[in-house]
């Protein structure tokens, strides 16, 4: 449980920071599609007897690169949907080949505390630092291109490269969060708390801190609730994120 706690805290920190950029760019669909690539990777890695973390990382990176390549040619939404179904289909084919993977499908998709405790903390810590550093380094570019795209263009920020960088950061964050909350629910942690923070706070810097605090709150309470009820962590994360978002909407509607 202590291990799950450490991994969970790292996941929530990263999800808060990266999720804020997701909401800023309005790219919720990508944050939903890339974790599904990660799912196929984890299934493939366990078929080959490799570390699931490696599979998660490699496949989510491949999904991110494929996505940024496809987006150059087609509609953003359509390309995302196609990458999503392609990676899911590969995952489905892999799990059909081995009963052992089939039994762990559920944990991969929806998260389990045990899934979190089996992965080691040190590589995850490094990943988390890389993710947060990447967002902070490109912070001004992300905010500028989301708020005033014309000004960003005038400043010489290349949209295509920024988009690719963003997708790669999402892929790294995915690798961290999938073992805790599951591939299908990573994005609910990345979307709910940051969206609530953006409604509540106007300044981007303060909203980032609020988003991280909120996602930590959601994940910690979800871990406790899952520990007591034995229900999947992902369920509590989804309900917690949605509740926080709805509360934020109610508060801002009253103003």
């Amino acid at each position: 449980m202590i291990n799950a706690w450490q991994v969970g805290t790292l996941a929530a920190l990263v999800a808060g920071v990266v999720g804020f950029v997701v909401v800023l760019r309005g790219d919720v669909f990508a944050a939903h599609a890339i974790p599904n690539g990660a799912f196929a990777g984890a299934a493939g890695a366990s078929l080959l007897g490799l570390s699931p973390l490696l599979g998660l990382g490699v496949f989510s990176l491949v999904a991110a690169l494929l996505l940024s390549a496809l987006r150059r040619y087609g509609q953003r939404d359509t390309s995302t949907a196609l990458v999503l179904v392609l990676t899911l289909a590969i995952g489905a084919a892999l799990i059909s080949q081995s009963p052992q993977i089939a039994s762990s499908t559920y944990a991969l998709l929806f998260g389990e505390i045990l899934g979190a405790s089996s992965s080691s903390v040190l590589p995850l810590l490094v990943l988390a630092l890389v993710c947060i550093a990447a967002v902070l380094v490109r912070w001004r570019a992300f905010v500028l291109s989301a708020v005033t795209p014309d000004l960003a263009l005038a400043r010489g920020i290349r949209q295509g490269r920024l988009d690719a960088g963003f997708l790669i950061v999402v892929a790294l964050a995915t690798t961290l969060t999938v073992p805790v909350v599951g591939a299908l629910l990573v994005f609910s942690l990345m979307v709910g708390p940051p969206a609530a923070a953006r409604l509540l706070v106007t300044s981007p810097g303060r909203a980032l801190v609020t988003a991280t605090t909120l996602s930590l709150t959601v994940l910690w309470s979800a871990l406790v609730a899952a520990y007591w009820t034995n229900w999947p962590v992902g369920f509590f994360v989804a309900v917690g994120s949605a509740t926080i978002y709805l509360l934020a909407r109610l508060i801002t509607a009253r103003r």
Binding site: V23, G26, D27, V28, F29, H32, N36, Y73, G74, Q75, D77, T78, T80, A81, L82, L84, V85, L86, L88, A89, I90, A92, A93, I95, S96, Q97, A102, T105, Y106, L109, F110, G111, G182, L184, L185, F187, S188, V191, G192, A195, W231, P232, G234, F235, F236, V237, A238, V239, S241, A242, Y245, L246
Partner: protein
């Protein structure tokens, strides 16, 4: 011809059922999909499939037919997404994401409860990834009826739908009730997604909805041609998927056949890739 059509393919009852169900859902998805692409509503379409999954998982828990589960799930999802409509931009996308995440959380819970309360295994795989070969032939008639209704509704709203997808202002000026048409379209999208969830599993039904239509729209800019092409691609890929999945029993070392949905999706992605490459070449010349 044995290398393509494995022995017993044409006499197997599950294959007949699969072909019938697959054709109906591919037809409805192709038609509705073209409008989905026109409106840029891929994300909403995908969110509906996940809500359909919640319905599918719930149906096992309550003990009703999967078709009822998928359809009612998708309809509830359409209602939830519909109430958040009209904000536009990022807010809309975030709200759809929240609906999607609550639905996925609920499926997690339902599937967990299924696993702990009943001895039936493989429910997770069946609901999420589909197993067309185990569908019951009694579902053909309701699928046909529901599919026909969805197509009829699409036909009725087609003209105002196209107009309001291209320009909201123009549609308003012509007296089209844009919100009403948008709501009706969400309804048809929910039905299409519910049907294809039965074919390829809820996670992959996005493929049938988006793929053939996206490929068709790449090849032509005329609506009628796009509809015809999408139908051809959708039905073709579905049939190919069924045949290949049946054959794959003989290919794999442990005789574990690969799922139908896998082949359908791969075929659709290949078609989209070819159309994209073809259309960008054509434009450059």
């Amino acid at each position: 011809m044995n290398w393509l059509f494995a022995p017993g393919l044409f006499t197997s009852a599950p294959v007949h059922t699969a072909l019938a169900l697959g054709t109906v859902s591919a037809t409805v998805c192709a038609v509705v999909g073209v409008f989905t692409i026109l409106r840029g509503a891929s994300f909403a379409g995908h969110a509906l499939t996940d809500v359909a999954a919640t319905g599918g998982a719930g149906s096992v828990l309550v003990g009703v037919s999967p078709l009822t589960g998928f359809l009612s799930g998708a309809l509830v999802g359409a209602g939830a997404i519909g109430t958040t409509r009209g904000r536009g931009g990022h807010q809309q996308e975030v709200a759809t994401g929240i609906v999607l995440s609550v639905a996925t959380g609920l499926s997690a819970l339902f599937l967990y409860l299924n696993a702990t309360t009943s001895a039936a295994t493989g429910v997770t795989q069946r609901v999420l990834f589909g197993s067309l070969f185990s569908a019951s032939s009694s579902e053909i008639l309701p699928t046909l009826l529901v599919g026909a209704l969805a197509l009829l509704l699409t036909g009725v709203i087609a003209r105002p739908l196209v107009l309001s997808s291209l320009s909201v202002e123009l549609a308003r000026a012509r007296g089209v009730r844009v919100a009403l048409i948008g709501g009706a379209f969400l309804l048809t999208m929910a039905v299409a997604v519910g049907l294809s969830a039965l074919t390829s599993g809820s996670l992959l039904s996005t493929a049938l909805l988006i793929g053939p239509a996206a490929a068709a729209v790449r090849c032509t800019s005329r609506l009628s041609h796009a509809l015809l092409l999408a139908l051809t691609f959708g039905i073709g890929c579905t049939w190919l998927g069924i045949v290949l999945s049946y054959d794959s029993y003989n290919w794999m070392p442990k005789n574990q056949s690969l799922p139908v949905s896998f082949f359908i999706v791969v075929a659709i992605v290949v078609v989209y890739g070819v159309c994209t490459v073809g259309s960008t070449r054509g434009r450059r010349v």
